[in-house]
């Protein structure tokens, strides 16, 4: 067959010849002559153009000499002159062709190795012709992905991709989207096994989660109850024409993630600052509206939350918190960031919010990059849109104070405004902001390390986080509001307006992060859970990157507790999350790990990229993280704040924190063990 056959060198986007896949140029490498001949015959029967080779070295030189001479490579794993995986790596690096691995060995480890090394498929010997008939799909898929990446560099999302406003564009690359979608898909599948969108790589119009829509969403979730709020039912209740279950599911995931992130942050804060302030403040901290928050007490520092929970943060406590937070400001980023971020969020938001943007991711990225780092960083499940909302609302932070209103003053308007769920979107934004601000105040202590605390707080209080029906950002707000947002946003240290973040961060960072802190941070558990959700949502996409990230996260944790450490912590948290999520569902666990990974990767610096990979959920998370991380550790905090999209609402957060079984959103939710909350910490 001549290479000239139609399948040769077709470009993505090009109309493939009618004859395709006939003429597909395959290079098959196997040291076993019997297998080689059989494979060759089989491939010829499939009308492919086959070149066989019994040594890896020869195969490599063939490929190098003829860069565009082949469409796909099939290689055995065990070869005398070179390990098949090594060959796989070379090909991936040099020619970037799809490679299929083969082996008589069907052990999970080997197959996994194939996956992690980037094989696009793995065949068990003896190979049947049926298995070879469809290998052309890998060629098409790869080209499609590449093309898409080129096309949409950065934030373009299929279909609706809106230009990334900010520099964030990077992470919302279509690759991520694809991944994200895949992850999401998986999660959807888990949830309901429906609406699988196989075309993850296809462009899909993005749903813009407007405030109204979000409110509808939250209403539906509330109506169903956290435990029963599954995408399908939510969709039914919402009764929005054109909205798909998938849209809802991803929205849910985003919120969960955000929530998780927040929780994690809180946890970390607690860990770092679990000191006095927290106790004093905190326990109630979690209290936001829902009793659940109470559990957050572990967060302590987050008194604000408690306040929020209770609906009224005593001005004094708030003040205390704030003071503490302020004092901590040096401490860090965690809360400070949140405060600051919030500010940023708000300010930034306008442009970034893209509230109406189709892609949440984009928004996140956009906003995150800039100011919204808060949002970005916070892996809260808040969908990008939400973040956007957040941003928007951030501006009107007044909303945030929903709950805070009671407390009133403190907080920055952000928090306060949260008061009502009405504009959920806003609330979210605010929450995020609010969280941030809140955290600082409540924490008072240096706990605010990374803003996580802030974030956490936000989550709890304000963020209803979608955890379940509880997306009432509103409720959360109260807690949030208390944050010293007002207090000062000017955190001395980071310049976060929240200033008080220190306290907050301490809450999260410390507490959450460590398992042992669990006791104190119940919330952290919650976080983890949220994280799980995230993971779940993410989908099981076992994407390679996820796997890889995992490793990363681990390291991060080492770093620790410092604010930045939060990020670091994240990794560990993430790791733990993994375990955590696994409990939920296999799928979820994946998410967790994925998430962690994602988080980690975010921290790693590839933030953009990573964020994206994680799939939608992660994206927001990662994005934030990355943004945040990069921006500065402090920024992370902010990110976290953003995460707390109001969606999470306190309930969500709290529940997540408090009890692992958060039902709600999905299996993932309960798992919020927040181990994975390391997201925050991912250092840029």
């Amino acid at each position: 067959m001549s290479a000239a056959s139609s399948s040769g060198a077709w470009k993505p986007g090009e109309v493939v010849s009618d004859q395709f896949p006939a003429g597909l140029r395959v290079l098959v490498v196997d040291d076993d002559p019997t297998c080689l001949v059989i494979l060759e015959k089989m491939l010829r029967t499939c009308l492919y153009e086959v070149t066989k080779c019994n040594r890896a070295e020869i195969a490599l030189s063939l490929l190098r000499e003829n860069k565009n001479g082949f469409d796909i490579v099939i290689s055995d794993v065990h070869m005398p002159d070179m390990d098949g995986f090594k060959l796989l790596e070379y090909i991936g690096l040099e020619m970037d062709l799809p490679v299929i691995m083969m082996s008589a060995d069907d052990g999970k480890n080997v197959v996994m190795k194939g996956v992690t090394h980037g094989a696009c498929d793995y065949l068990i010997k003896p190979v049947r012709i049926e298995a070879l008939k469809n290998i052309w799909q890998h060629v098409v898929r790869k080209k499609k992905n590449e093309w898409k990446d080129l096309e949409h560099s950065g934030s373009v999302e299929e279909g609706d991709r809106q230009p990334k406003q900010s520099e964030d564009a990077d992470y919302s690359s279509s690759v991520n989207e694809g991944n994200w979608r895949n992850a999401k898909r998986r999660k959807d599948e888990e949830d309901e096994a429906e609406e699988r969108d196989d075309t993850s790589t296809l462009k899909k119009p993005r749903v813009v989660w407007s405030v109204e829509l979000h409110q509808q969403f939250v209403a539906a979730v509330n109506q169903l109850g956290i435990d029963k709020a599954v995408p399908k039912k939510i969709l039914e209740l919402m009764n929005v024409p054109g909205l798909t279950r998938e849209n809802v599911a991803s929205h849910l995931q985003t919120l969960k993630c955000n929530d998780l992130v927040q929780k994690y942050r809180l946890y970390l804060r607690r860990l770092s600052g679990v000191s006095q302030h927290q106790n004093g403040l905190g326990n109630s901290f979690m209290g936001p509206q829902d009793a659940s928050f109470g559990s957050m007490s572990s967060l302590n520092g987050l008194d604000l939350q408690a306040l929020a929970a209770s609906g009224q943060l005593p001005a004094q406590s708030l003040a205390t918190l704030q003071a503490a937070a302020l004092g901590r400001s040096a401490s860090k980023s965690g809360i400070n960031m949140s405060l600051v971020d919030q500010r940023n969020l708000f300010s930034f938001e306008a442009p970034k919010l893209r509230f109406g943007e189709g892609q949440p991711q984009q928004q996140l990225s956009n906003s995150s990059s800039k100011q919204v780092n808060l949002l970005h960083g916070i892996p809260t499940t808040m969908e990008p849109k939400q973040l956007a909302n957040l941003h928007q609302s951030a501006q009107s932070f007044g909303n945030m104070s929903m709950q805070v209103n009671a407390h009133g003053s403190q907080s920055s308007s952000l928090l306060m405004q949260m008061g009502q769920p009405q504009s959920r979107g806003q609330i979210l934004n605010e929450t995020t902001g609010g969280h941030v601000s809140r955290l600082p105040s409540s924490i008072g202590q240096p706990i605010l390390s990374n803003g996580i605390a802030g974030g956490v707080l936000a989550r709890n209080g304000v963020v209803e986080n979608g955890r379940g029906p509880g997306y009432n950002p509103v409720s959360q707000t109260s807690s949030m509001v208390n944050f010293p947002m007002n207090h000062n946003a000017e955190l001395p240290g980071n310049g976060f307006p929240l200033g008080s973040s220190p306290g907050i961060s301490s809450l999260t960072s410390k507490g959450m992060f460590q398992e042992d802190v669990n006791s104190e941070i119940k919330g952290s558990r919650g976080f983890v859970q949220s994280y799980d959700i995230f993971n779940e949502l993410h989908h099981h996409r076992p994407q390679d990157w996820e796997l890889q990230n995992v490793g990363l996260t681990f390291d991060a944790s080492q770093h620790a507790n410092s604010v930045q450490g939060n990020l670091d912590v994240l990794p560990s948290v993430l790791v733990s999350q993994q375990g955590f999520s696994s409990s939920q569902k296999s799928g979820q666990s994946r998410n967790t790990s994925a998430v962690s990974k994602a988080m980690f990767s975010v921290g790693e610096g590839s933030e953009h990229g990573n964020a994206q990979n994680i799939g939608q959920h992660l994206n927001p998370l990662l994005v934030d993280h990355s943004l945040k991380v990069k921006a500065e550790r402090i920024a992370d905090t902010s990110c976290e704040n953003t995460f707390y999209p109001e969606h999470f609402g306190q309930e969500d957060l709290m529940s997540a924190l408090l009890k692992p079984q958060q039902e709600a959103l999905g299996p993932g939710e309960s798992e919020f063990d927040f181990d994975g909350y390391t997201m925050d910490n991912i250092p840029g």
């Binding site: 076993d32 019997t34 059989i38 089989m42 065990h78 060995d105 010997k125 003896p126 049947r128 012709i129």
Partner: protein, 146 residues
Amino acid sequence: MDRNNLQRQVAYTRRSLFDQGYLDDQFIQLEDLQDDANPNFVEEIVTLFYSDSSRLIHSIEQALENRPLDFGRLDNYMHQFKGSCSSIGAKKVKSECTQFREYCNAENAEGCTRTFQQVKQELAILRRKLEAYFQLARQAGGAQAG
């Protein structure tokens, strides 16, 4: 002419190879690949298999003579050989290979040696049967392969 008779015999012989467990489904895959352009494809593959297998068998034999036994290496060889066997559908030989690998894992030298003899034996039996089968098929003017 006894063509029909021969063909029936070929079919019968073929059937029994499967029924007695000497061959499995992979052999049918090979038969499916045989066409007018490659009328003797299956026989060619089997011939190739046997000539190549002697190389691996020889390596294993030598490795078995070393003391102490290098089980890792033995396992490695056998893994390759097993892959080869499975590609032509040599069912009984393949199961002996699996057994051998189990002994390798257990580091049971005596078990390895004993099983290896069985591998060779099964290999030889199959070879004879297949050769007879192919010959019959040729006589019948194109065995009803597959």
